[in-house]
Every structure is written in C-alpha cells, then in structure tokens.
C-alpha cells in the first residue's frame, strides 16, 4: 500500500467502568473497543460491520472524540500536511480540525433540531468555524442543499416538514457544508425505507467522488456495506476479527464469524432460510468468553479457541489478478479456509 492513509487508528481502546452503587449488582470494566487498529485511505469508504453491542458505534465516536478513548492513537493527516493524534488533544486544540472531519447520524428524526430552520441547521457548522458573511453562508447552504437533491426553497422550512429520506439528506448536507475530507456515517441509511435507502446511497457515492471524501461507514447491513464500501472491517465484541477489500471479503471470508453473518442475510434470490449457522446471541460484553470471544457460537471451535485469544494476522491474497492485503483473527484460518470449497453464495 503506497498511498498515505488519511486516518490511522492504532491500538484504540475504549473501556467503560461500571461503578458499584446502590442499584448495580456488578463491578468491572466493559471493553467496548479493545485494541483496534485500521487505516482509512484517501477517497476510500471503509465499512465497519457487526451486531449491536460489538462496539462499532463507539469506534466512530472515539475517532471523532465525541468520547475520550481510554488509550490508543487516532492519527489524522490534515489538509495542510501535518499529522496529528486526536487522542491526547483538548477540545480547543481539536477545533480547527472539526471542519475536516464530520459525522452523519443514524436517526434523521432526532439528529436535527426541530426549532431551527434547515438554513440555520446548515449554516451552524460554518458559523462555528468562524464564518460571519451572511451572503456567503446562504450561498453555501443553498449550494449544499442542491447537492443532496433538495431545493433552495426548502431552506426556510423546519425539519418536521420533511420525510425521513429528506431529513437524512439534510443531515448529509450539514456534514458536507464545511467541505470535510473524512466523514463518519453511523448507520446512515438504516432507518430508511428500501427505495429511499437506495437514493441516499447513490447520493453518498456521488458526493464521495465529487468532493474526494473518505468515509467510515458503520452499518449492520452487509448488503449495504457490500454496495458502498471499498474495504470492510468486521467487529465482534470490541475486537476486529477480519479486514479485507469488500469483494474479497464477500467472495471468500476468512473468519467463521464473517461467514456466519453472510449466511444470516435474507436474500431475494435465495429461497431458503439458513439460520442454523449462527446460534445464540452476542455474549455479555462485561463478561466476555475466554480465548477467542466467538468460540461460544463458532461451528469450528476447538480447545485452543477457549484458552488463547487469536491475533489479527496478515494474509496475502489475490483478487482479479491483483495482490491484495487482508487480515483475519482466527487460529484455524489455514485449515478452515485454505482450500475453501466453492461457497454457495458465490454462484450467483
């Protein structure tokens, strides 16, 4: 990989301590994110998938410092060419970079203030960045609202006058108005109807190319991730279990959890439910299983998996004749996946 990454996350940890009090029975530490490392390249969409409670949202929030990570590094290579680590920075120190990194939220209903007009919502990030010229503000808001497929006349309205899909577009316009380089999109299309979801995905892809954006795209929906992401990281109980280019991941998963997740997705072309693959639910994060956290649900689990936590290892692979780089955290990668029989979901 020659290109300089835009964002580098190194050994990120986010531990929440549970205090004992009159009403809580337990004490301890929840390792919501444990020792997570990955890179996001310029103009790349990096997907982060996993079940609820796996820590994917926490990663997004920790990168933007909406919460203070316990330890680790989040290195951002800024527009001016300097590299900064967000983790030790104070809110004041980080402010100049806020314009360059933005967020799109999941719920289009609760993430827009009902008491502000769309114009005020869109202008606010610029005002916070120090812009005072009213004409310029309006011009920017007006341009951005058109970029997401709405009209300037919509600027006067309040959020309640819009549908879920339109609100999500307003959320996107708000994130883009400061001309960021990196956007964290947390379940950005999960709350939308399928037809509207497709529209919003198209807008994101269009804007990514137009404004040369990088995304951290957090989602539980593998089909959406497959559609929009260049590379994908799969998380389970706070740890990364697999990272690979999207196409490689979906044609040949190298971790039993990824494989199981893919089998669980209902498919319009597949007339059979495969619910036999992944039994049980995600374990309690406060009391995770020993060894490989996935061994309690893994169909290939052996004794070693119960005692030793597997590290994320690098693998060389080829995809369409090109060398690619991928990672998997499974003790038995070689045995399980080295000679994978042609998997059913590749045949289509």
């Amino acid at each position: 990989m020659v290109a300089t990454p835009l964002v580098e996350v190194e050994a990120l940890k986010m531990h929440f301590s549970m205090k004992s009090g009159a009403f809580s029975r337990r004490k301890g530490v929840i390792k919501a994110v444990d020792d997570l490392s990955f890179k996001i390249l310029p103009n790349e969409t990096f997907g982060l998938v996993g079940e609820s409670g796996c820590g994917k949202t926490t990663v997004g929030r920790a990168i933007l410092k909406a919460i203070q990570p316990t330890s680790g590094k989040v290195i951002y290579h800024s527009k001016d060419g300097d590299s900064v680590d967000f983790v030790p920075m104070s809110n004041k120190q980080i402010r100049p970079y806020r314009q360059e990194v933005q967020m799109i939220f999941q719920d289009p209903y609760s993430s827009l203030s009902p008491r502000m007009t769309v114009q005020e919502i869109l202008e606010e990030p610029l005002i916070l960045a120090g812009v005072t010229d009213k004409d310029y503000l309006y011009e920017q808001a007006s341009e951005m609202i058109q970029q997401v497929g709405l009209r300037s006349s919509h600027l006067m309205r309040y959020p309640h006058a819009f549908s879920g899909g339109q609100r999500q577009r307003i959320g996107i316009a708000r994130a883009l108005i400061t001309r960021p380089r990196f956007i964290v999109a947390d379940e950005a299309v999960s709350a939308l109807d399928v037809s509207v979801q497709a529209q919003v995905l198209e807008i994101l892809i269009d804007l990514k190319n137009k404004f040369d954006l990088s995304f951290l795209f957090i989602s539980h929906d593998l089909s959406v991730v497959n559609y929009i992401c260049d590379r994908v990281g799969v998380m389970y109980l706070g740890r990364m279990v697999e990272v690979a280019p999207t196409q490689a991941l979906f044609t040949k998963p190298l971790h039993p959890y990824t494989e199981a997740l893919m089998h669980a997705i209902p498919d319009i072309n597949e007339r059979q439910i495969r619910n036999d693959i992944l039994a049980g639910e995600i374990p309690d994060a406060a009391n995770p299983p020993t060894g490989c956290a996935f061994h309690t649900r893994c169909q290939y689990a052996k004794d070693l998996c119960k005692s030793k936590t597997p590290e994320l290892q690098n693998f060389a692979d080829t995809l369409n004749g090109k060398e690619i780089f991928r990672q998997s955290a499974c003790h038995f990668v070689e045995e399980i996946f080295h000679h994978p029989k042609e998997r059913k979901f590749n045949e289509m």
């Binding site: 995905l201 199981a260 089998h263 597949e270």
Partner: protein, 326 residues
C-alpha cells in the same frame, strides 16, 4: 379446495385527523386461506399495518373509519363481518389474541414493563381459556419452550427489560401462539433486530407456523425478508394493492413498475450492479391523488395513468396487477 379464513372485500378506509383526511386504504381485495402464508410488502404509509390491525379492531375509532367494503371472518362455517361487530364486544374479544393474534415490531413497547413475562402471558391465557393459575403457568412455560426461549421457567419470572431484543421477540411470539391462533399477523417482526437474530426469529416463525398449522401474514418493507418465508406476496403502495401473486411470480416475473423498482433498489450480496433507486418520494398522506397512485414516480407513466385508477386485473395463475401497461 382451500378454506377461506379472512376476506377483505373492496375495503376503503380513512383517518380523519385535525390535519385532514387520509386515503389510507383503497379498494383492498384480499383473501387469506387456512394455513397459507402471505407477505404484505410496502413502504411506510402504504397501509400495510392498518390492514393487519383492522380485523381485530385495534385502530382508534372513530378517527379511523372504514368507508366502504367488509372484512369477513369465517368461523365454524359462520362467516361474519368483523367491521359490523362492536369494537370491544364479545365477538371481537373472542377473536382478538385468541383466533387472530399479532406480533408487533417493537417488543419493548408492546410488552408491559411492570409485569413479569409470566404474569402477562397468564393473563392472556386465562382470559381465553378455562385454565386456572397453575395450569396457565404450565402452559405458558410450554409455549415459551416452543418459541425456543432458553431457561423458559426462569424467563417466566423475568421482567421484559431484563431480556435482550431477540429474547423479547421470542416472548412476543410465545404470547401470540399461546392460544393456538388460526391466523398470525407478524408486523415487521424483525426490523428492530440484528441480521443474525433476524434469521433466528424468521426461522422460528416459519417453524411455529408449520407446527401449529396456522395462517401467517408477514408484513415488512423488505422484500428479501419475505422471499423465503411466504407462498404469496401482496405489494402495497399508498393504500392500494398494486400486485398480488405467488412469491415466484412476484420476484421472478414482476409486472407492476413499482414491484420491479422495489426489487431493483435492494442491494444484494451477489451483485455490485448499480442500484436503481425509485425517483421521488412517497407523497404526503393528506395529499389528494388522482389516477394511479404510483403515477408520480413511474417511468412508464402515460396521460391515462394520471387521470384514471387502473383496475386490479387478473393474469395467468391468479397473478393480479393494477397497471394499464402490464
């Protein structure tokens, strides 16, 4: 010959609110037979949930008003119109929760947070049977086990907030099947769940349907969810059924432009082909729409579509489509 269970005949319904009147359902013709499984698919506001709630009269009356048509429930060879019965009268009470039951989307807001799982299940069971408290408890634990709730007798004493989302949905399913219903409406039963849990819950609903030999109506916005669950699919758009046929016909040979567009806008794992989103969005529910409900977003729209509502026409194999161009 299949036995009819529930029949919607030319039903039209409106909500009268301060903001105006909606045309929630228009000209709904639908028959549910014993033991069949039907998927109702459509986007928000298409009337799919209203269709499910109408037969057990769960809608706020008189804000909700049926303006035309009848809903016939067939019981012991004595069909009657549920819309003519009293909303909370004995006739409806004997059906609701017993013969027709329902699984809702959000298990947390549809289960009581201040009663244990056991006490709310017992209440339902004792309401609809002659069992005493002890028998009701035994029966409740039995159906919890049927819904694959692990440690059923412990969960019986738990409060719903102590359970995970998937487990709450299992409890909902257990409650819904506790009185051996003839018909189960599942209204977006897995939308709030993770994919892995979704697969488990869908598998469970399918198994339960087979074991209990009941009819299933699965309501969802996601065509992929119904694809492997049901025999027939009805596609709703703005209160109209725009297409109805066997699952194969709908998915492999869709005739209505909306159904086609809906299929094209679903991302799948097998293709990286560009999605073709449906242009525009669903109109405001209070807007007056003339002509075909889909005409504003349809690519094949003609002048006739904008004036006249297309009739619901039968094609081969009982495949019905509401489109002039099909």
């Amino acid at each position: 010959m299949r036995n009819k269970l529930l029949e919607y005949k030319n039903v039209a319904a409106r909500f009268h609110t301060i903001e105006g009147t909606t045309s929630t359902l228009n000209d709904i013709d639908l028959t549910i037979y014993e033991g069949m499984s039907l998927g109702i698919v459509g986007e928000s506001g298409c009337g799919k949930s209203v269709t499910a709630r109408m037969p057990i009269r769960l809608l706020p009356e008189p804000t909700f008003k049926v303006t035309h048509g009848e809903v016939i429930y067939h019981r012991d060879g004595k069909p009657f119109d549920v819309l003519k019965a009293k909303q909370n009268g004995t006739q409806i009470n004997s059906i609701r929760g017993k013969e027709i039951s329902m699984i809702f989307q959000e298990p947390m807001s549809s289960l009581s947070p201040i009663h244990t799982v056991g006490s709310q299940m017992r209440e339902l069971i004792m309401q609809h049977s002659d069992m005493d408290k002890k028998q009701a408890k035994a029966h409740a634990i039995e159906v919890l086990e049927k819904a694959r709730v692990p440690r059923a007798s412990d969960v019986y004493d738990d409060y719903t907030f102590q359970l995970s989302g998937g487990m709450r949905q299992r409890v909902m399913i257990a409650m819904a099947i506790s009185c051996n219903p003839r018909l189960l409406f599942a209204d977006e039963p897995t939308t709030a769940l993770d994919v892995t849990i979704q697969a488990q819950i869908l598998g469970l609903i399918k198994d339960v349907q087979r074991e209990q030999n009941m009819a299933l109506v699965l309501i969802t916005h996601d065509l992929a969810v119904v694809a492997n669950m049901v025999d027939e699919i009805a596609v709703f758009y703005l209160g109209y059924i725009v297409e109805h046929g066997t699952t194969d016909d709908i998915l492999k040979n869709p005739k209505h432009p909306y159904t086609k567009a809906l299929i094209d806008s679903i991302p799948t794992l097998h293709s990286t082909e560009a999605l073709k989103p449906i242009k525009g969005s669903i109109p405001d529910p209070y807007a007056k729409i003339t002509g075909c409900p889909f005409s504003a977003r349809c690519e094949k729209v003609t002048t006739r579509c904008r004036v006249e509502v297309p009739p619901f026409v039968s094609h081969e194999n009982g495949h019905k489509v509401r489109c002039f161009e099909a």
